[in-house]
């Protein structure tokens, strides 16, 4: 199926998807002396680390670029990748970074981004944690393009949550912003329970393995003095594994870009903008458009 693309991969990957950096895991996942194989956009790639020098090889033994950012190791198949997006909050003092580890999901990585942008599922999938069925309404929010940076922002989002974060004790209206700076990465800015003027960050850096399989690396970057890293880790893994059942049971597994294939409502404004943005940038990889062309 998707593995047959190994020999002629560049032909099948749209330029926008091809040109990005992708996270392959946390630095700790590649200890000294390791030699691991993984997949990226249907390519086999090798990762080696001798002492402190890491090398990544792609198709035909080609050396791929590496950078270490946001707690993760990144690479690109492209010789001239687009610059990796900036997350200025990583430089702010007082924040704690918890890297959650990669979780494999049998679906398009684009479906995982879209699910992450979605508030309407909180009461049904994350029942009694991120939402309750009695407060399922999604109030109108704003979606705009940052044209200069070519990224999507959803702002003025709010939703009732009984346990908004590991540090929460009671239910509250929680405020959010969502940012999509990359077709396979998405960041949530969530009102911070311990500091009303600050945002906590939760994000996904998705490694697309195949068109219908991805490895989701996620992180929290929060102000929280009450919970251990392990408690935060369990909270986030609990949430993401609730989403995984959904993601593995959406049909088709690839993201439909034809607006007639599924039925969005106003609550899906960020998903609509995301699909349009992908379409405008000519994305076919991991979408139903790709399946049609193939």
């Amino acid at each position: 199926m998707t593995r047959t693309t190994i020999d002629q991969p560049e032909m099948r990957i749209d330029p926008f998807t091809y040109a990005h950096w992708y996270a392959l895991g946390r630095k700790e996942d590649f200890p000294e002396g390791c030699a691991l194989n993984t997949r990226l956009l249907s390519h086999s790639i090798g990762i080696r680390r001798d002492t402190d020098i890491m090398s990544i090889t792609g198709p035909q033994g080609r050396a791929l670029p590496i950078q270490h950012r946001y707690g993760h190791v990144w690479t690109s198949l492209s010789d001239s990748p687009r610059p990796l997006f900036d997350i200025p909050e990583f430089a702010e003092p007082g924040r704690r970074l918890v890297t959650v580890g990669g979780v494999r999901v049998r679906c398009s990585g684009l479906r995982a981004v879209e699910n992450f942008l979605d508030m309407a599922h909180f009461p049904f999938v994350h029942t009694d944690i991120l939402g309750v069925t009695e407060h399922a309404e999604v109030k109108k929010y704003d979606v705009k393009m940052d044209v200069e940076k070519d990224e999507i922002w959803a702002t003025q989002c709010q939703f009732f949550q009984p346990v908004a974060a590991a540090a929460s004790v009671a239910g509250d209206m929680v405020h959010y912003q969502y940012r999509v700076p990359h077709p396979h990465s998405v960041i949530l800015y969530k009102s911070c329970p311990v500091d009303p003027d600050a945002w906590d960050l939760i994000g996904l850096f998705i490694q697309p393995l195949e068109e219908e399989e991805c490895l989701v690396h996620s992180f929290l970057l929060v102000f929280d003095d009450n919970n251990t890293d392990t408690a935060l880790l369990h909270f986030q893994q609990n949430i993401f594994l609730q989403d995984r059942v959904i993601l593995e049971n959406q049909v088709p597994a690839r993201l439909p870009l034809d607006p007639r294939q599924e039925t969005p409502t106003r609550a899906d404004a960020s998903s609509i903008a995301y699909r349009r943005w992908l379409k405008r940038n000519g994305v076919t990889w991991s979408t139903t458009r790709g399946a049609e062309i193939a």
Partner: protein, 227 residues
């Protein structure tokens, strides 16, 4: 509707405890202990362990808690005694906190034999279904085809047994009421889909899972969506 035949619990006076459960949120074996704690209405401190990605269960400090490097571990309220192995913990909790003896029928030898038989069988399910799940979900290496085939062999046996129990009007693995046998076999049967094992082909198993989820005080975990 199918009646759940839930045991009428005789609640012990002390519903809180100073016990501590070394726990991983995504583990089906930890979940079965949390489930029984819910059923018995016992509060217990949870000590989260960074099983993934940190592999904290392999650390020297955790090896002092359980040299087998496995979760869950129940630390009793003396702060010293520790019970490892999920099935052993289930037996301890039922014996200690369920005076009705429904969950672990120590006074009915034949039934007790059946329950223990299924507690052992739960390990067959775990060995196959949990292995496939760790492979598919967290990237562990294993022979995934063999793991799924083993799981299907186990589920076929479970299906046949549950079917024959239903012919006799019996809804549970080891009798007319749910026991530790059901608690032990439920998690990795219900989580099989996480490891790419389809269980919609086992109708009696599905009916049993649905009945289980209607038990009073039932609590799901991520990956379990029946209600």
């Amino acid at each position: 509707m199918i009646s759940s035949n839930a045991p009428c619990l005789v609640l012990v006076a002390q519903k809180w405890s100073d016990m501590k459960l070394y726990d991983y949120v995504l583990s089906g074996n930890c979940y079965k202990v949390r489930l029984l704690l819910h059923f018995l209405d016992i509060k217990c401190t949870l000590e989260p362990v960074d099983f993934y990605p940190g592999r904290a269960h392999k650390s020297p400090s955790f090896r002092r808690i359980n040299p087998l490097e496995q979760l869950p571990v129940l630390e009793l309220d003396d702060g010293k005694t520790r019970i490892c192995d999920s099935q052993a913990i289930l037996i301890y909790l039922a014996h200690k906190f369920d005076p009705s003896r429904h969950w672990f029928p120590v006074n009915e030898p034949e039934k007790l034999g059946c329950v223990v038989q299924w507690l052992t069988f739960a390990n067959c399910i775990t060995a196959a279904s949990s292995r496939a799940r760790l492979h598919d979900m967290l990237g562990y290496t294993c022979d995934i085809t063999a793991a799924r085939a083993h799981a299907h062999r186990a589920f076929r046996h479970l299906e046949d047994h549950l079917c024959h129990q239903e012919f006799n009007g019996i809804n549970w693995l080891a009798g007319a009421q749910p026991t530790l046998a059901d608690v032990a076999c439920f998690p990795y049967t219900c989580l099989a889909g996480d490891g790419g094992i389809d269980i919609f082909i086992y109708p009696a198993i599905q009916r049993w899972l649905r009945r289980f989820a209607t038990l009073p005080r039932f609590h799901p975990m991520p990956g379990i969506n029946i209600r």
